[in-house]
């Protein structure tokens, strides 16, 4: 059977980091994680509705200082990620390397702040459902920051070794999308875990 050629792919771009299918794949991962967060927060309110007092009698809502520090640090680290990506788009390897390294550092500081905050929790995970959901949501987010930090640390190593070029920066682009999510999802968590108990 004869073939008519309608599309010639010889000169079509092989390096298109901003429309690459992996970018969509990361969006898929973000959608899954967002569904998990939504389920966790819904469970929080469901349990709250089932209990006469929330937090239970004699338990204070978590202190606001450390979480607010995290709430500042994480968007700041997203900004440095964005700045690093700008550099990468221009082929400025130095800006890229400095940017991702700054992000990793800021996120590690956020992890330290988060650890202080966990140490201050008035409720343990094993004496009331309030403590359980508080610890699980916190632990879930903590784990995500750890995984974003670990992944981005590898990106930073590669950046300092000069691996990324404007064509070959897919790794930076998708890592940044995931980073935005991990930083951004702290806002609803903050509102639910720290502000809601004071308002309800």
């Amino acid at each position: 059977m004869k073939a008519r050629v309608l599309v010639d792919a010889s000169d079509i771009d092989r390096f298109a980091p901003h429309t690459h299918p992996l970018w969509w794949g990361i969006l898929g991962a973000v959608a899954i994680e967002a569904a998990v967060v939504a389920t966790l927060l819904t469970s929080y309110f469901y349990l709250a509705a089932q209990n006469p007092a929330w937090p239970p009698e004699g338990v204070a809502p978590p202190d606001l200082f450390w979480p607010t520090v995290v709430l500042v640090l994480l968007p700041l680290s997203s900004f440095t990620m964005w700045w690093a990506g700008k550099g990468s788009d221009r082929g400025d390897q130095r800006q890229l390397s400095i940017g991702v390294t700054a992000s990793v550092t800021l996120a590690v500081l956020a992890l330290v702040a988060r650890s202080f905050q966990i140490a201050e929790f008035d409720a343990s995970w094993n004496d009331h459902a309030y403590g359980s959901i508080l610890w699980v949501i916190t632990g879930f987010h903590y784990t995500h920051v750890v995984s974003a930090v670990s992944g981005t640390a590898v990106v930073a190593v590669l950046a300092w070794r000069g691996y990324f070029t404007p064509e070959r920066q897919l790794g930076v682009v998708v890592d940044t999308v995931y980073w935005y999510f991990v930083a951004g999802v702290f806002l609803p968590i903050y509102l639910v875990l720290y502000i809601a108990p004071r308002l309800l």
Binding site: R4, V7, P21, G25, Y46, G131, I133, S150, E167, G171
Partner: protein, 648 residues
Amino acid sequence: MTAVGIETSGHDPALEPSSYGHEAAVGREAFERIERTWRSPAGFVGWFTQVNHSAIGLRFIVTAFVFFILSGLLGLAMRLQLAMPLNEMLSPEAYNQIMTVHGTAMMFLFAIPAMEGVAIYVAPLMVGARDMAFPRLNAFGYYVYLIGGSAFFLSLALGMAPDAGWFNYVPLANKTFSEGYGVDIWTTMITFIELSALTAAVELIVTIMKLRAPGMSLDRMPIFVWAVLVMSFMILFAMPSVMVASAFLMMDRLVDTQFFIVENGGSPLLWQHLFWFFGHPEVYIILVPALGIVTSIVVTFSGRPLFGYTALVLAITGIGMVSFGLWVHHMYTTGLPFMGRSFFMAASSMIAIPSGVQVYCWIATLWGGKVRFATPMLWVLAFFGVFIAGGLTGVMVASVPFDRQVHDSYFVVAHFHYVLMGGAVFPLMGAIYYWFPKATGRMLSERLGIGSCLTVFVGFNITFFPMHILGLQGMPRRVYTYVDGLGWGNMNLLATFGAFLLALGFALTLFNVVRSLRHGAVAPDNPWGGSTLEWATASPPLNCNFIQQPVVESRRPMWDWREAGSRTVVAGLSEDRRETMVTTLLDARPQSVMVLPGPTPWPFVSAVAASFGFIGLIFSPWFFPIGFFAVFATMVFWFWPRHPWRKK
């Protein structure tokens, strides 16, 4: 849409080019080079490095059917136990384990993975892609499923299987009432296996959205591909719910969190909400791709274009959406507010509307065509009968007053076997008969197929129809036996007889498959005269799927090409790299070219590391950090940049 474009025509193999000249199209030398680029390594070690979607899809299907046979045998054991009153063949403990494993495995280890397998195998071919978007992730998902599923079944052999029913209700599943490791195995392995469903879902979504052949705009996508897309989105939003639920239960049992402990502020109903928010869409997750299979078969065997393409797409999407608003109809007897129950009763009844639209589209398509009653079509006809009967009892149990009467009785058992087997297994069997020639290059025997289909249909109805009556007479589900004198004995005996007939029917297909692999007639590229692109490649498919990627100009490229006498293709893809076209989301205009990775062992190593972590979690929480960093380490090797090619 125009339904008059192509005259009604029966399939005439003489008109079908027996081969599209795959080798002649590009010349022998180029053909061999491309095929070498896309080849999967052979041998035992090679097996662990394969990433091509056709290899992975086939593995999903074969593994799912092995679990189907095993779980089916468990079903037979239950039927034997219930054949007569006060039977002592199985102890109550053994019965509970067998019942739980049967239900859980049929849902999580058979139905979902089998549908995913068919989707992974067929969908990339149908959209004209050379492989899926993330081949290594695909392989990872398969190993996770294989290891998780095997560990789950192994627990039965070791006598430590879960025994709290497939939906594992607390407080029964709490540490207090379920000691031992059974429920822990359920929670960890289900969470783990769902990981594989999620990877498959993301993979399918991106492949369908971005890797369609040039010209295949969304409104030219085959209905099966639409169905797979809807299924994948449903997995994306439903599975997290069951993962959260089982993670809560896992922690309640492992580190004494209090999610489901009433004395300390927990709520057993939270489990039911989370479980059914997944559990109800789950039923539609396995039904929706089946609807796609049915549509493919109906179009091919009526030999005319689909009636009501847009209506069908809307119906399938509608089913997907409405299915997220029904979960509470599993909980009518839990004392929910009247208002809530009324809402969910209305929503449950509403699902009958899109379902009805589909059935009428199929009828209208068949109406004007010369229907060929080959085996795939027979399974579809059996599907119509069984699924519509199940749908009718579905409308009955959607109603609150009726449901409260039959809740937890055998009526429900009958209902869900009619919808699940009718809605998923019959279409799946049709899919096997339909695509077996494509996957293996051999035809299945029609005579054995007809025998199998009839035996399964009769056996199925003898097994499950009496259960409606048993349920109305008050027989509760999940009992390991019943006393004499209730008048249930004869009907149970009949059901047991039917179950063996049903098993015989499936055995006939198994025999057919094994025999045809060696002795079946050689299959041409397009044995049924199908209109979609999976028939454009060789049987079995080439390593690269398409030696020249196709360009699509309508909903039925194969029929266009047959009329025009020529194909429309893409040129200029590399022969030495794994390249496939990336196109725009809506119109499928060429956008870029994706270079896909080749064979690699890292997905397997990663899956082993993840399994180590998850299986360890049954015993100690410390395996969480250990597994986390083990998987991370393997992922670094997985994604570590290599330099196999550079920009010219």
